[in-house]
Amino acid sequence: MKNSTMLEMKGVRKSFGTVVALDDVNLQLKSSEIHGLLGGNGAGKTTLMNVLYGLYKPDRGEIYLREKKVEIQSPKDAISCGIGMVHQHFLQIDSYTVTENIVLGTRLKNRPTLDLDQEEQRIQDLSERFGLEVSPSSLVEELPMGIRQRVEILKAVYRGVDVLILDEPTTNLTPQEVESLFQSLRVMVEEGMSVVFITHKLREVLSVSDRISVLRDGRNVITLPRDEASEEVLVRAMVGEGLDVGKSLVFSDTGLDQEALQVGQEPVLRVEGLQVVNEEGNPLVKDCSFQIREKEIFGVAGVAGNGQQELAESLMGIRPIAGGQASIDDTSIVGLETRELLEMGVTYIPEDRLQDGFLPTANVAQNLILGYQRQEPYHNRGFLDWNAIFRAARELITEYNIMTPSAKEPAANLSGGNIQRVMLARAFSHPAKLLVAHNPTRGLDIGSMEFVYSKLLERKEQGMATLLLSEDLDELMLLCDRIATIYRGQFAGVLERGEFDKYQIGRMMSGVETHE
């Protein structure tokens, strides 16, 4: 059975309106292999897999399963062909238990009674067999991300799939959880399954895959066995010739040069015993204390949803500070409004750029000055000075290389990477003392990541203090001077550059260990 072809997709094309997301893409999957599917944001990885799973209807293209042609019109067809998919955003019913989520949609024998004891036992057995530990009777909404992902995988395994597609499965996992996931995948392929592992992280794909395919701009670039693949080859395939890998920050092994590592003495932001509570009064951020100095990038690591957003929003005046002290240059910022903070020289890159960061129907120029519209030079005796606004916008578009037909284009027409450039251009268009940046590179391709990193470092060298909240540990370890790890709203420890250790941070992220 080994090395026989399990599945083949041929000549797949899919367009959304006028945008061609996939063009003549082929993919061949062997049995008992982990196949890495690599590509930057917008390369078409997820679209291709959604076609395979019957979520998108392709314009053209054929799918062969064990050399027999199959028609997949809906996820139902995909499941009956033995194809399972774990989506990047988990598709779970929050208010259901693990078992209910797993059995949903299957033809249970005891359909009229919904007696799930037997199913629970089966799920328990499967979870032990594949090392995917869960408690079948807990409510899904109460589980951490790592466990919720196991539920997704069990959902597929319970249905007895031969092909398992994992879309960016490591995004919300600690390094330990990633390793245990990889071990589970190994068990699966040894039992004869095939796994497609979609990712944009090179190191992960190299460590776990048997073969690797790279997509770029909706087209195939290469497919290689792992022995023939190297980081350099894959990067070239992912980003084309535009990026100088040797000089790249994203792929630098040595880290930053000396100049970039200089940290100033004067503290800019001082936070003492910060508390943030939700509507019911339960603490979301508990007793956080830290200082950020000039020319310092202070990182906050953690699994999503451990208080990072609340921490950032409380410092930006979006959420009230419930207790403790926070001050910038010895001026207290407790109780200040966002507007006053912006005027003080604090600037913000929100996590969810689509929700909190920009106005989709407003044009690029309006988005570029959003928040600064009351300040010079955009504001002139109670009126907006549109000439000044467009002049500034055109300069920013050139400086930040924003791909847009004009400054009057509705911002929603821009791609994710370009929207993020708008966010950056806006954040950096005014002199700032402090930048609060939350996942500034999420979903960006390598070229754009590179750009964000170089801008952050450039500003750092000019003296800006940065609070960088990120779920990407590699990013934090590359850029930060110190990294705090946040777990359930509390700092589990702060590490200095030089003592950064991925696994130690991972343990702190999951609450197993605290430092100091």
């Binding site: 959304f16 996820p75 009956s80 779970q92 208010s95 949609g105 359909r111 919904l114 989709p360 791609s415």
Partner: protein
């Protein structure tokens, strides 16, 4: 039986009687809501149901025909809601409101076409009580629960059945999942559109029947606007009942109790203007919503349309 007991039994009997339209309309609302369809056309569908239920019974000489006609037309309204929102992906609230106004208009149009304008509207017989042999002999309880018209029994059995269906069968598990996260349901092979069409149509049928109940039990004829906001209250009631059949049943009892109480107080001649007493059910609605809204959980995807190929930005 002493005086107080008789008073109590007659009050309780009336509450059971008045509960029926609330139960039917709210369970219908709940069904659609559980697959994410939020209807606001209850009042309109109930009016059409009342109008056609009366006309069907009048023309064909049988209340059963009236009920069937009301359910058929209610089902058509449900079908329209499902088609416009699920297939054409139009805004649920706007479509629901349009259907309400269509129902409002049609409810007075039909009697004018069929009967014309008369000084003395024709009457239909009211729904008879059907005592259940044996059970109706139980003192007190027999009179309250087992000596009622068929739709009272139906409303009770329907609530029990829906509870069982939603929470104890795998069809119910699938149905609820559509209203919580249709994308997840879809990815597991649950047919979101079919679920929505079925619940919308069945829900509409129940609302139509709820309307037909009014001329058949209360008045014997159709009068303009005779639903008197019960359709709107049904929406509040469904929220109050946390979109679950058993709590909705209890909520319907509560609202029916308030309604009957208002009538009783009015008859007893307490020195309060009757217009004020008539507002009691609506005041109760607001009070109940204030307390209930924080505690209950509506289906997560309520009121939204699902489009499989919809792409988010980025």
């Amino acid at each position: 039986m002493d005086q107080f007991q008789m008073q109590f039994v007659s009050f309780a009997r009336l509450v059971m009687l008045a509960m029926v339209p609330y139960v039917l309309a709210s369970q219908g609302t709940m069904l659609g809501g559980r697959t994410g369809l939020f209807s606001v056309s209850q009042e309109g569908i109930m009016l059409v149901g009342a109008s056609l239920g009366f006309l069907g019974a009048y023309l064909y000489g049988s209340l059963v025909y009236g009920m069937l006609l009301a359910m058929f037309v209610g089902g058509l309204f449900g079908l329209a809601l499902a088609y416009f929102t699920t297939t054409l992906k139009m805004n649920q609230f706007v479509i629901g409101l349009s259907l309400f106004f269509i129902g409002l208009g049609l409810s007075t149009l039909f009697p004018k076409i069929v009967i014309g304008v008369t000084l003395q509207p024709p009457l239909i017989p009211t729904l008879p009580d059907v005592p259940i042999p044996g059970l109706s002999q139980i003192p007190i309880l027999g009179d309250i629960f087992f000596n009622q018209n068929v739709l009272v029994y139906f409303a009770i059995l329907l609530s029990i059945f829906l509870y069982y269906l939603l929470y104890k069968t795998s069809i119910g598990l699938e149905l609820r999942s559509v209203g919580e996260n249709p994308k997840a349901a879809d990815s597991l092979g649950v047919n979101v559109s079919v679920m929505r069409y079925v619940t919308a149509i069945v829900g509409g049928m129940l609302m139509g029947l709820a309307g037909a109940y009014l001329p058949m039990v209360y008045t014997g004829t159709f009068t303009q606007g005779m639903v008197q906001g019960r359709g709107w209250i049904a929406i509040a009631l469904t929220f109050f009942g946390g979109w679950s059949p058993h709590l909705i049943f209890l909520g319907a009892l509560f609202f029916a109790g308030v309604e009957i109480l208002a009538l009783r107080v009015q008859v007893a001649g307490v020195g309060v203007p009757y217009q004020f007493l008539l507002t009691l059910p609506y005041i109760a609605t607001i009070l109940v919503m204030i307390f209930a809204s924080r505690r209950v959980r509506a289906p997560a995807f309520l009121g939204q349309n699902y489009d499989r190929e919809k792409r988010t930005l980025s």
